[in-house]
């Protein structure tokens, strides 16, 4: 069954979303040129680099033997306090470079029973929020598909 856009989405209800999130965070933390250590959905008030899942992964294709193809939408949030436009642009460039590296190296993720089949950039890094202490969130969003064969 291919889930049409007007059908209710069936959310993934097993442990695969957490496994995929953990694998992406672990992979990103092997990247030498990232601006900060990657965490899962945690930033301090002034800085940080976090992977955040935008919505609960949902089933795109359901296979008759019980497996499925899922969609996983996430974003990388880079919080920093840029004091100049140059630093602001540098924040976007650094975040984009991190995403580019992730896209190139996603194939090295080896998960039992789960295969990431597609990754694509949904947006370039850009300013998303600014706080009273001068901190800014720069965000780049990604779309992944992964498969679990039943």
């Amino acid at each position: 069954m291919s889930l049409q856009s007007d059908s209710p989405r069936r959310l993934v209800n097993d442990d695969s979303p957490a496994a995929v999130s953990r694998a992406i965070v672990n992979l990103l933390n092997t990247y030498q040129d990232k601006p900060d250590i990657v965490t899962m959905e945690y930033l301090t008030e002034e800085n940080g680099l976090a992977l955040s899942v935008i919505q609960v992964p949902y089933v795109v294709e359901q296979y008759i033997c019980g497996g499925y193809l899922a969609a996983y939408d996430c974003e990388l949030i880079y919080r920093t306090i840029p004091t100049t436009d140059a630093k602001r642009l540098e924040a976007d460039e650094t975040l984009d470079a991190t995403v580019t590296w992730l896209i190139k190296n996603i194939g090295s993720i080896d998960l039992t029973g789960v295969t990431i089949t597609k990754i694509e950039r949904q947006s370039l890094a850009s300013l998303s929020a600014r706080y009273n202490n001068g901190a800014e969130d720069h965000i780049a969003s990604l779309h992944l598909n992964y498969e679990r064969i039943g």
Binding site: M1, S2, E61, Q62, Y63, I64, C65, G66, G67, E147, I149, G150
Partner: protein, 176 residues
């Protein structure tokens, strides 16, 4: 033994599984190697054609009759080099175009939503040793996956019995 549908509520689609015999292991006797059909197949039906006939007599009464069903099932899925069943179909149909072998394949169908109610329960299962496999199309959209579309018509000797599935591997025991 009498098999019945088990559980309560609706039954998940993945409880009806078809396997193609892709080889044998051991000897005396050799044990079939069963490879699952449909890993990335999104929809496939165990279709039954009862060959219904209707006759109206001179009194205006309609007499209906049916015969034992012809069962067929279609599969359409992206090719996967690790998927043994479809790779075997590719070898026989695409590479060898071996019409004779394609008409004498063995398929096991496990109805994993049933039980015999025994202490070590088994599922109702059936094998057909004269199945015809037709590879209908091989292709797909540009930029997408190579998709193989097949139709299996179950035929030959039908043997029923019980099956278990352990770690995705079925084991079939004909009814005595």
């Amino acid at each position: 033994m009498a098999y019945t549908v088990t559980g309560s509520g609706k039954i998940a689609r993945e409880k009806l599984v078809a396997y193609l015999k892709t080889g044998e292991t051991g000897s005396n006797p050799a044990v079939p190697v069963w490879s699952v059909l449909g890993k990335r197949v999104q929809s496939s039906d165990y279709a039954m054609d009862w060959q219904e006939e209707s006759v109206k007599d001179i009194l205006g009464n309609t007499e209906n009759s049916v015969k034992k069903p012809i069962i067929s099932q279609e599969f359409e899925a992206p090719m996967d080099a690790a998927e043994t069943a479809f790779c075997k179909i590719w070898e026989l149909a695409i590479r060898d175009q071996d019409a004779q072998k394609l008409s004498e394949q063995t398929v096991l169908i496990v109805h994993a939503y049933t039980t015999d109610g025994e202490t070590n329960p088994t599922y109702f299962a059936e094998t057909y040793d004269g199945c015809v496999i037709e590879a209908n199309t091989l292709g797909g959209e540009g930029g997408g996956d190579l998709v193989l579309s097949t139709k299996i018509t179950y035929g030959g000797n039908r043997v029923t019995g019980g099956a278990t599935i352990t770690s995705g591997v079925p084991s079939f025991t004909p009814a005595s």
